[in-house]
Amino acid sequence: MAARQAMPHQDAKERTRNFDEVALGYTEEQAIAEASRCLECRNPKCVQGCPVEIDIPGFIAQMKAGDFDEAIATIKLTNSLPAVCGRVCPQEVQCEELCVLAKKGEPVAIGRLERFCADHERKKGVAAPVRAQSTGKRVAVVGAGPASLTAAADLAKEGHAVTMFEALHDTGGVLTYGIPEFRLPKSIVRDEVEYIKQLGVDVKVDYIIGKIKTLEELKNDFDAVFLGTGAGLPKFMGIEGENLNGVYSANEFLTRVNLMKAYRFPDYSTPIKRGKHVIVVGGGNVAMDAARSALRLGAEEVSIVYRRGEDELPARKEEVENAKEEGIIFRLLTNPVRILQGDNMTVKGVECIRMELGEPDESGRRSPVPKAGSEHVIDADIVIIAIGTSPNPMILSGSDGLKVSPRGTIVVDESAKTSIGNVCAGGDAVTGAATVISAMGAGKLAAQTINDYLRNN
């Protein structure tokens, strides 16, 4: 069996000085060689691992034959955001985990192949889609992140008139404000949104549902509503010193960098503090993104402080490796206790305590227990808290009757219906912070439910 094709990367030293994309993508030869590794299983498991059920063996077979146009057409039957998914999906725990070759250690690089097909099409220029015949039904989609983009695209393809409402000035949700340019170039997100607009979706940015219009008003104005409002409310640890100058939520830090382009300050007017010693608290993809961004902003030393061990890091393995290659320091089994104050209410350092892993908790992971007497101080002038987010409560104002869990997530049934008649929901607003692809899967399901509803009403 041929070895898995390595992904060409921008050199580690070089890339820490720019925000250009790190993974460079396969060449045509590499793509065909990688596609040729697929065993064409009679009973392919990979598809079961894909929340949007892409015909993976189908598009890979087309790639083998060098027919990239057919391959992307196959992918797009079920996935409206292939260039995004090919870059940020956690394939190693989805399609690739179930690949038969994974048992031998090296599954087919399905994500990289998907990315190749999408990029191949982009290079040639994506053909404008044919608009579906109008059904005369109107659907409101709240939010413009992956769940909403997917739902909007699927509903537009069915011929419904879709209006998408976004609170920020740009679409893409977390793809735009959260994921850095070096992992997902904004031009890709923009092109994907452009495609969705060409399907007939009317996009209104700067428009806050819950303020300009309540959900109640929205559901009266439209035949159906999809809520894909995401989980944008940052969590803090509640430790001493968290409001000091120099402590950022990962959301704020990344929004300044990505959405507002603070890395190009002062050409772009949004400022950001460029720290010398940066500590990022957390171990997920967002923590990796924040740490690697801080490094690119010129920090001398960036540490990830995470209370569990290497095996428990929730971030994608590939991103952890990228971060390590770039020189990010991993302080594992370590947890912040308080943030120390320097002059003028700025950050001077973080007092941490070492942890050991005890019994598994309700998440199934072994829970970290502090080791008494192991307190120590790490110097820092910037601290970024990346321990997760919870759903944004803004949508809830003026939406009496919308059932919400104690965690603040919107409650839905198995078909994505909320407690209100013609309103569906999906993505992080329902699950809490999760992955792009699971949000897209939820958007798809909701679109199907709404479509059934509109056909019968």
Binding site: Y207, I212, G232, F236, E242, Y268, I272
Partner: protein
């Protein structure tokens, strides 16, 4: 989307009033709320309190003082120019109810956000005593409008060029001392004024409300940059506020956080001036 400036005028040295066409925002706006605007692609997002709004005409009035690069750039815009983004209404509306007699205090450009509140409190059936102040009489804004909207209006200037020679808080204190029963005081202005006012009213036990203006980006609770400490609890001014109980606010923290980007602002302004000069 783009948002047309219907009217722009200078109302005091370095203070400008702008009516911006934003029908959706105008229709939903309430006293106490704010908007976030962005001039163009390279601009930052800045929050400004709504000074007035007209749902029928579809415009929102903002009043701002030239401070940093963005407000200076904004000051150079004029009628029929367009803003790239104008988002709102944000924040909770002011909790306006019939309470009896209410004192509304505005300092400097803080008079602007006080104005719609004066009207709202009066519409709710309150007696409104307004106290407005500035460093000198030229910096005093909306005097006529405040006069028309208030039951009583008092003026204070730091240099004594008009009204009471001193601070708005002196005037408010006199009213409290006069024995008239005051149900609530609302104070909006520079953080130091709000801090002093909170200290002044505390012994009287009168409910005191301030409107906070920390640095923020999205205004929808997403960034957490606008966090303030109120009664020892961390709150997000954009969604939990912007109005809070003055006696519980940690003003020192607010002021230190407001100063966070001063070095960058200076750099940005320098850069902006360089660009302007090279353009001449």
């Amino acid at each position: 989307m783009s948002y047309t400036i219907l009217e722009k005028k200078q109302i005091a040295p370095q203070v400008h009033l702008m009516k911006v066409l934003a029908p959706d925002v105008a229709k939903a706006a309430k006293a106490g709320q704010f908007i976030i605007l962005r001039i163009d692609e390279t601009s930052e997002r800045i929050p400004l309190t709504i000074a007035d709004f007209d749902a029928d005409e579809g415009y929102v009035t903002i009043i701002f003082q030239e401070m940093g690069k963005t407000t200076k750039q904004l000051a150079q815009m004029t009628d029929r120019d367009v803003l790239l983004d104008f988002v709102g209404p944000l924040g909770k509306p002011a909790d306006v109810r019939k309470l009896g007699t209410v004192i509304l205090v505005g300092g400097g450009v803080g008079i602007a956000p006080v104005y719609p509140q004066v009207k709202a409190y009066r519409d709710a059936g309150n007696k409104v005593i307004s106290v407005i102040g500035a460093r000198n009489k030229d910096l005093l804004i909306l005097e006529d409008e405040m006069q028309a909207a208030s039951d009583e209006l008092y003026i204070a200037t730091d240099d004594g060029s008009k009204g009471h020679h001193g601070f708005v808080t002196d005037v408010a204190k006199k009213i409290l001392d006069s024995g008239e029963k005051i149900a609530r005081i609302v104070v909006i202005g520079p953080p130091i004024l709000m801090k002093v006012a909170a200290g002044m009213t505390a012994p009287y036990g009168v409910e005191t409300i301030v409107s906070l203006n920390p640095i923020m980006i999205d205004g929808t609770g997403m960034c957490g940059g606008c966090r303030v400490s109120v009664g020892g609890e961390t709150k997000f001014a954009c969604v939990d506020g912007p109005e809070f109980d003055a006696h519980k606010v940690d003003f020192n923290l607010l002021m230190s956080r407001l100063g966070l980007y001063r070095p960058e602002e200076a750099q940005c302004q320098e850069n902006h001036q360089c660009t302007c000069r090279s353009g001449n």
